[in-house]
Symmetry: C2
């Protein structure tokens, strides 16, 4: 078997480079990584730069793991016995993928011990590499469940990672003669999200590999899926990888469906995207169920997705197919959102998909990255790509939100803010918390309904994905803005009815485009009273109730729920968006480096994508396209 020979060769090369006395027992492809098993991981780690040099010379992502990992149950007990109780350990998570054990503690310093003494003690006992993190200030049941589940399928997963490891590192068919070399190509097929917002899905293919980027739903309640049934992508088992840019449903909702239809490979995303996706997918099924529509898949497929997920942090260059390397970069849009950069062939071509991105600094994130080692083609979102899609400056829009709230509360009304549970909600929460703290708005209750609190908890689990200011605030005792006492989670029908019948207040609730979710109940009950207000803080896609109401509909037929009459005040505050506005989109291209040869404007209404494409062409003389769904573009 060819692959065995290659592993043997790699092992020999590694043995040449490691200092005498370090024993490499085995070398194995596991997922995208080359795992070096050694009896002495500690000494391996102590050799400064050794792993970095191996990674560079072998051009692989290297993980070093002890030959023998202690049984997690037993290791769990040993950690508990070594670490003083005052450390306040809240979770111990054995990650078999990496050979790391994640120790969550209220006082990380105590786990580490003086000069790392306690940590060394742990390592000596259990083989697993300990990694210590501060206990998130808000516990996320999603994260807990995902970790528990991954623990329970540990053996399956190990097998899975070896299988895909070998697939990624398979030999390519020889391409000796000139004709075969000419047959090098890279193509992108648009399976959704072109001249529309929703059902993102792009197929990147080469003669040897196929990668699907995103697989989302169309938020119009009509159940349109991406065109995943066209022959280009069949059978789904022929896909090498699925790459997920971020956790919004228009990008991730139908990823579990792929497993139902025969996909068996990995889904690459950042760690927060994995957890947020699982949360939102389960919520998505729940909402559909409640509305009596047919669910496209069950929670079993969500589990299958989690079992097959492979997480990558920003900046880590990873082989995902024999001729494709993937690197995620911060997109500034929501927690864990990424620009997916693909390096094809041996320097043949580079192509990036922005997913959704924000080129402005927000309360939560740094602006999207626009520096790449190489870049020939860019697929960019165009949500606010229209020539008049200018958003207010953040300060102005927060001022407008404060004004609205003051006005509505004063006249005894309630403010409903529909928001995606992930991203917009946290931005608005941070703005409102500051507004109350600085007395710009009265201190009323802010009710959170839907998955907002859980989403917030996941944010605090991944502080390294937030910008520094917010990260510091979160961990400063008593300063965590998300824990401010103005916020109250609505978790029962009882409380929901009390809120509706109760005092003036602010309600932040999902879904963000009024296409289902608890916000619908608030709207049904509060829409008739002109004292109240409905405040849009995010993009409303075509076909959603949100868009209709925003456009001025006053009688909105809601299917079997009847028609609602809209008397309440409608306000649109558009600076909170996690998307770049027109000016930022243009600036992004002006400042991107290197400048790509081709730009494809996607993820926007027909007018917006066409307008943005032609404006970029006129201003920067770059070849642009506003593709339609179901087209295939040749890159090289």
């Amino acid at each position: 078997m060819q692959i065995e020979e290659r592993l043997k060769e790699l092992k020999d090369k590694i043995n040449e480079k490691v200092p005498r006395g370090i024993n490499v027992t085995q070398v194995e492809f596991e997922g995208p990584e080359l795992v070096i098993y050694t009896d002495d991981p500690k000494r391996f780690a102590d050799e400064a730069d050794l792993i970095r040099i191996l990674a560079r010379d072998l051009r692989k992502r290297i993980v070093v793991r002890p030959t023998i990992l202690e049984d997690p149950e037993k290791a769990h007990g040993e950690i508990k016995s070594v670490v003083p109780e005052t450390a306040g350990i809240t979770d111990i998570f054995f990650d078999a993928d990496t050979g790391e054990v994640l120790i969550e503690a209220e006082k990380p310093g105590v786990v580490i011990g003086k000069n790392g003494a306690t940590l060394r003690e742990i390592t000596k006992h259990i083989g697993w590499t300990p990694k210590v993190v501060r206990t998130p200030p808000i516990e996320s049941s999603t994260v807990k469940q995902v970790r528990q589940y991954l623990r329970s399928v540990n053996e399956d997963r190990k097998q899975f990672l070896r299988t895909i490891g070998r697939r990624i590192h398979r030999d390519l068919p020889a391409r000796g003669d000139e004709t075969a070399r000419k047959d090098q190509w890279a193509r992108v097929t648009t399976l959704g999200c072109c001249r529309e917002v929703g059902r993102a899905a792009f197929l990147l293919s080469t003669p040897d590999s196929k990668v699907l980027i995103d697989c989302g739903e169309k938020p119009d309640n009509a159940g349109a899926t991406p065109y995943i049934y066209v022959p280009e992508i069949y059978p789904l088992s022929s896909l090498d990888a699925v790459v997920l840019t971020h956790a919004h449903l228009d990008h991730c909702a139908l990823v579990p469906l792929l497993y139902k239809y025969g996909y068996e490979g990995p889904v690459y995303s950042t760690p927060p995207t994995r957890d947020l996706s699982a949360m939102l997918q389960l919520d998505y099924l729940d909402v559909i169920n409640k509305e009596g529509r047919k669910v496209p898949y069950s929670s079993n497929e969500v589990k299958t997705y989690i079992k097959h997920s492979v997480t990558l942090n920003y900046g880590s260059v990873t082989d995902i197919a024999p001729d494709i390397k993937l690197t995620f970069h911060n997109a500034g849009h929501i927690l864990g959102s990424a620009i997916a950069h693909f390096h094809l062939g041996d320097g043949m071509y580079n192509i990036a998909f922005t997913g959704d991105f924000n080129y402005a600094k927000s309360r939560l994130f740094n602006p999207a990255i626009n520096q790449f080692p190489r870049l020939e083609a860019l697929f960019m979102e165009s949500t606010y790509g229209g020539s008049n899609d200018f958003q207010q400056a953040r300060a102005d829009c927060e001022g407008m939100l404060y004004d609205t709230i003051n006005r509505v509360l004063q006249r005894g009304g309630k403010v409903i803010i529909p928001a995606f549970s992930v991203g917009r909600s946290q931005e608005v929460m941070l703005a409102l918390e500051e507004g109350m703290r600085t007395n710009k708005i009265p201190k009323v209750k802010i009710y959170l309904d839907g998955m907002i609190r859980e989403a917030t908890a996941i944010h605090t689990t991944y502080p390294e994905y937030l910008n520094t200011d917010l990260r510091n605030q979160i961990f400063r005792e008593g300063m965590n803005p998300f824990l401010a006492e103005c916020f109250q989670q609505v978790d029962s029908q009882d409380l929901r009815e009390k809120v509706i019948g109760g005092d003036p207040c602010v309600i932040i609730s999902t879904s963000g485009m009024l296409n289902g979710g608890p916000v619908m109940e608030y709207l049904m009950n509060l829409a008739q009273d002109e004292k109240n207000a409905l405040v849009f803080v995010g993009y409303q896609a075509d076909g959603t109730y949100g868009r209709r109401i925003q456009k001025g509909w006053r009688e909105v037929p809601m299917g079997r729920k009847g028609t609602i009459t809209i008397n309440l005040e409608i306000v649109t505050v558009d600076g909170f968006s996690g998307h770049s506005d027109r000016r930022q989109l243009m600036n992004y291209i002006g400042q991107i480096s290197p400048r790509p040869e081709k730009i494809f404007c996607i993820h926007g209404d027909e007018n917006n994508t066409i307008d943005l494409a032609s404006s970029i062409y006129k201003r920067y003389h770059i070849e642009t396209h506003s593709p339609m769904n179901l087209e295939t573009y040749r890159m090289v």
Copy 2:
């Protein structure tokens, strides 16, 4: 079974419309046609307009056939006994597809008899509908073999036609709600022949159907095939139809290969295209064999192709898939060459592929058709699409050919004219015959080597595909220009060597681009002598020896045959081409009706396709593209 119900329904409708007393015994889909079986085909035929009205009302191609067809063997005897010997019957061909019997006779009038009496007598006896044609003045062994072979697989073929008949008329999945209606689309995937000349192959697909247009070779000896291995077209059994525009190898060479790889459906072409293709495919295998290269398929696959071929004449609108109608129109390029026009859905979209076309009248054909009932998109060839690709007027180019011949013969040299056996050869033959007849050039021998004579024979088999002048000439006693005594076929190595060593003469030989064939031997032996001349009368594609020599190479490495030194005179006479030149291409678009919304320039070098696309856009403000291979364009 749904289809049985539909046939029953159709039978009822037909019975309502036929006059009392005509008994319709059965109604069946056979290939693209609806066949009405009746005990009384004669009366059916006598009812003026009945078939036309049925065809219009049922929107089907109607064929009426007697319920009982006599056994061909027996019918053969009966025809012979009824028709007087003086008719000179040369062939009787029973076409089970149509229920017609083709009677070829030297004196068609005698077969028909006084006021059609003899014909009526035949019909009464045998059931088959007799069709009388004049015996072709040159017998084609290809046509004879094709007919014999079809006769031998009659039963298989009947089954095949019923199978595809039912497939074509299958019910489409219901598309009730709005989402499904939105999912209507039509796409074209470019599998070859983009920014290059050769390996024509285009996939036209809708949600319900897939049609491949052409499947040719790349004439560069490197064996590049169209990209028929990409997932868009897999498995080949998913194709509904293959449509062949004409018989040149860059369009038809790899059609038989499709059957090797699992295709099982029909190939639609005009009748001459079927016969010419079979001839050229067999010759293609022969040439490859002789050069010791690997043949892509065997003569068995050519037979399989013939067995699955379905011929259509110009102008006949034919269902080839549940949502696709095909109509062929004269392309003026070679015998039987067609522009393939597709009508999609119920008035949804119309798209035409020109194949190769000539918008000038030639000695052989009328100019290409450019009037269509509807047309939204056009894929047009751009062989001579470059801004300087102007051909000489026909008179000028014939004058130049005469001058060249006079000059070379005078100095005692020989003239080699490499030409496609089909098209260019006949045009040049006609010009030379006239030149000699009118004393513009001396009366020397014109040797024909390769499939030229056989190709000429096929031309005389289908006089209705030639223009009227030529058709009349061919059938005027002693006036058939193709039978002029100046022409001599070279059919032995012995004669070939005598020609090479003999007197000044003209040699027309295949292949037309010097990529194999007997012309190579003439070139090897005559290239060193500057008295001789090599006259290019057709397009020389990139990568062929023809192109290299035309560009001025004087030392041409020919692989294992060594290097040949080019001393002979090189002349290019470009008015004989069967292609439109730049001016004609532009005029074609100027005069096309209706004017399409989108034009795709293909079948031309990269510069030519780009230049033509941008010139058409500038002059006519039509959206144009110069696609690359492996792209997919959305039509609607």
